[in-house]
């Protein structure tokens, strides 16, 4: 009998596939993982503490930096919670613009996911193709609000910029292009046997586990629970539009891939529908110059590409929040990782971790 020994391997904080500065302390026996302890916090910037000293408008640029691949949704989460607390009326056009940007951002975010996930699995080109298409979205955002990543686009009561001339047409062109382009992705990735082999049947968890770990977004839907805040807590004007909530069957990483691809398609569908009904109008509601939010407490969740992005605001009637807490979906979703990784090997670790889709800026707040 050969004497074997478990060894401790520090994966990260600098590692190509931990998507940032996540550190996984893994105990491995050969390549088989016995125990995982995720160490987070390397990117902790204390956004919640900073927010206590910032006015509601000033918080918005900080939210850009939480989940930096879908900053629009972050903008919206804090703006939405503030508006709820203030009881503000949002002009229709502003809401539509918000929805267009959020859905485009979801597409962009999922594209990043598909790309980096395939990169984790060792395929290079899909990554570049995804970024190429994402680039179009970023350029659209750049035209709209002057930045490619940190948009700072939404304001309490509306949005900062109206769509520039011809912007909506460009969005429509992109939607049409992207709907076709999705087939290319399926040709390239979905049928690839190696990809299927790598992702099929790994990282499976039950509905009960998913609920207990409070997973959200695709990570919850993949278990077959059709839970989407866009429909079920119906913020913004999502109830006006038709879209499906794709759910998974088995709940493995392959399901997550298909689910997110479908979500891209659904998001494009929403954008298309919004483009059909969007009308001229004001983009800012009646908002006092100095935002004083009435005393109270509010928790509002929105469906970010990664799951339920919530914002818990406690206000004491001043122009700054007394306490602001983000429910950061990546943080919740990452918690299940040690359970999923027990007994897997290192290659699967990369695939499973990639499947969860974390953004370290969001995990660490």
């Amino acid at each position: 009998m050969l004497r074997t020994e478990e060894m401790l391997l520090n994966m990260g904080p600098q590692h190509p596939s931990t998507h940032g500065v996540l550190r996984l302390v893994i105990k491995i026996d050969g390549e088989i993982i016995r125990e995982v302890d995720p160490v987070v916090g390397y990117l902790h910037r204390g956004t919640e503490k900073l927010a206590e000293d910032l006015t509601y408008t000033q918080i918005i640029p900080y939210t850009d930096r939480l989940d930096y691949v879908s900053a629009m949704t972050n903008n919206y989460a804090v703006v939405h919670a503030t508006e709820l607390l203030m009881g503000l009326e949002i002009p229709e056009r502003a809401d539509y613009l918000r929805m267009i940007t959020m859905e485009l951002n979801r597409v962009a975010s999922h594209l990043v996911w598909v790309g980096t996930f395939l990169l984790d699995l060792g395929a290079m080109s899909p990554f570049l193709y995804c970024f190429k298409d994402r680039e179009t979205i970023l350029n659209l955002f750049n035209e709209l609000c002057g930045a490619r990543l940190t948009y700072n686009y939404m304001r309490v009561g509306g949005v900062k910029w109206d769509a520039p001339d011809g912007w909506l047409q460009k969005v429509e062109e992109f939607v049409r292009y992207m709907q076709k382009e999705l087939n290319t992705y399926h040709d390239l990735i979905s049928g690839n046997d190696i990809f299927l082999q790598r992702t099929r049947g790994i990282g499976v968890y039950t509905k009960e586990q998913a609920l207990s770990y409070a997973l959200s977004g695709s990570n919850l839907r993949v278990t077959g629970i059709p839970w989407d805040l866009r429909q079920h807590q119906s913020y913004s004007l999502y109830h006006q539009f038709q879209f499906e909530i794709p759910v998974g069957e088995i709940g493995d990483v392959l399901d997550k891939y298909h689910l997110r691809m479908q979500e891209i398609a659904e998001s494009l569908k929403i954008v298309k529908q919004v483009l059909d009904v969007i009308k001229e109008g004001p983009i800012m509601g009646k908002v006092p110059k100095v935002l004083r939010v009435p005393e109270g407490e509010v928790y509002a969740g929105v469906e970010s590409p990664r799951g339920e992005l919530g914002c818990h605001i406690v206000s004491n009637g001043k122009n700054k929040p007394w306490r602001l807490k983000f429910r950061r979906p990546s943080f919740y979703n990452l918690q299940i990782l040690p359970v999923l990784l027990k007994g897997e090997n290192i290659s699967n670790l990369v695939a499973i971790l990639g499947g969860i889709d974390i953004i370290l800026g969001e995990v660490d707040g």
Partner: protein, 268 residues
């Protein structure tokens, strides 16, 4: 989840829409919670101590939160408008009344009020039963039913909320903690998939000796969140399997989200 349940979920869509409209439409919300939390935290706790000594049968009436209602839970359900009482009244601190003149007409009772009243009654039937400090509807937050729980009962109630067939709050939507300067509060937003109900739970925690029971074994999601609350807010969760700092380094001094936090300076 069965198909039937899925359907129920779909139904929820229609259910929540009006709520959304209301949340934005009505000009808010007395939001006694904030006030009570920030300024009036002493009062409830005093009354709480009174409650403990009351006979069990009377407890419901003497509970601070339901006191004004004095057993009107049923009434509130049957004739809310006729009473022309602000719906929050049952749970109210005096503040909403003070705000009343501002409003042209009294607010309609929240659609969640009947549900909450029933729910509270059921909770009170549990053994011990002095666990609730307050129960009200947070109108600003899309009529979120909110319970204020005494710290020592948190674990007991958490188990109940998680497991009892009437509750089944399997899902932690949010796990937050707030420093009200007079006391700390752990705020948990729960969601029940079978019943499609949201519930806000607030647990009061003493500030100097910040301790609360851990619920990490009840909801797995609470594990890291409790670590985060411990790290940043300095609440010790007793019974937590692995209570370490999560965001900051292990050598960090102090808990940054406390309002009186001053960065530790080695030179000083």
């Amino acid at each position: 989840m069965s198909d039937q349940e899925k359907k129920q979920e779909r139904e929820l869509i229609t259910e929540t829409k009006p709520a959304n409209a209301m949340g934005e439409g009505t000009v808010k919300n007395e939001s006694s919670n904030g006030e009570q939390g920030v300024q009036k935290s002493d009062a409830p706790s005093q009354e709480v101590t009174g409650d403990g000594s009351e006979p069990v049968s009377k407890e419901q009436d003497t509970q601070m939160s339901v006191k004004t209602l004095s057993g009107q839970a049923e009434e509130a359900v049957t004739k809310p408008q006729a009473a022309s009482v602000p719906p929050r009244k049952p749970a109210a601190t005096p503040r909403p009344v003070a705000k009343k003149p501002v409003e042209d007409k009294p607010l309609e009772p929240s659609r969640k009020q009947p549900w909450l009243d029933k729910f509270v009654v059921k909770l009170k039937d549990l053994e011990g039963s002095e666990h609730l400090e307050d129960a009200f509807i947070n109108r600003a937050n899309l009529d979120l039913p909110t319970l204020v729980i005494k710290g020592e009962w948190w674990r007991f109630l958490a188990l109940h909320l998680r497991n009892h067939s009437d509750c089944q709050f399997h899902y932690v939507q949010n796990f937050s903690s707030v420093d009200y300067e007079t006391h700390l509060e752990v705020v948990v937003h729960l969601f029940s998939f079978p019943h499609k109900e949201r519930l806000g739970v607030r647990i009061k925690v003493d500030r100097t000796e910040a301790k609360a029971d851990s619920v990490a074994d009840i909801w797995d999601a609470a594990n890291w969140n409790e670590r985060e609350a411990y790290d940043l807010m300095g609440i010790t969760f007793e019974g937590h399997p692995d209570l370490r700092r999560i965001m900051l380094t292990d050598q960090w001094v102090g808990h940054p989200l406390r309002k009186d936090y001053v960065p530790y300076d080695e030179g000083v």
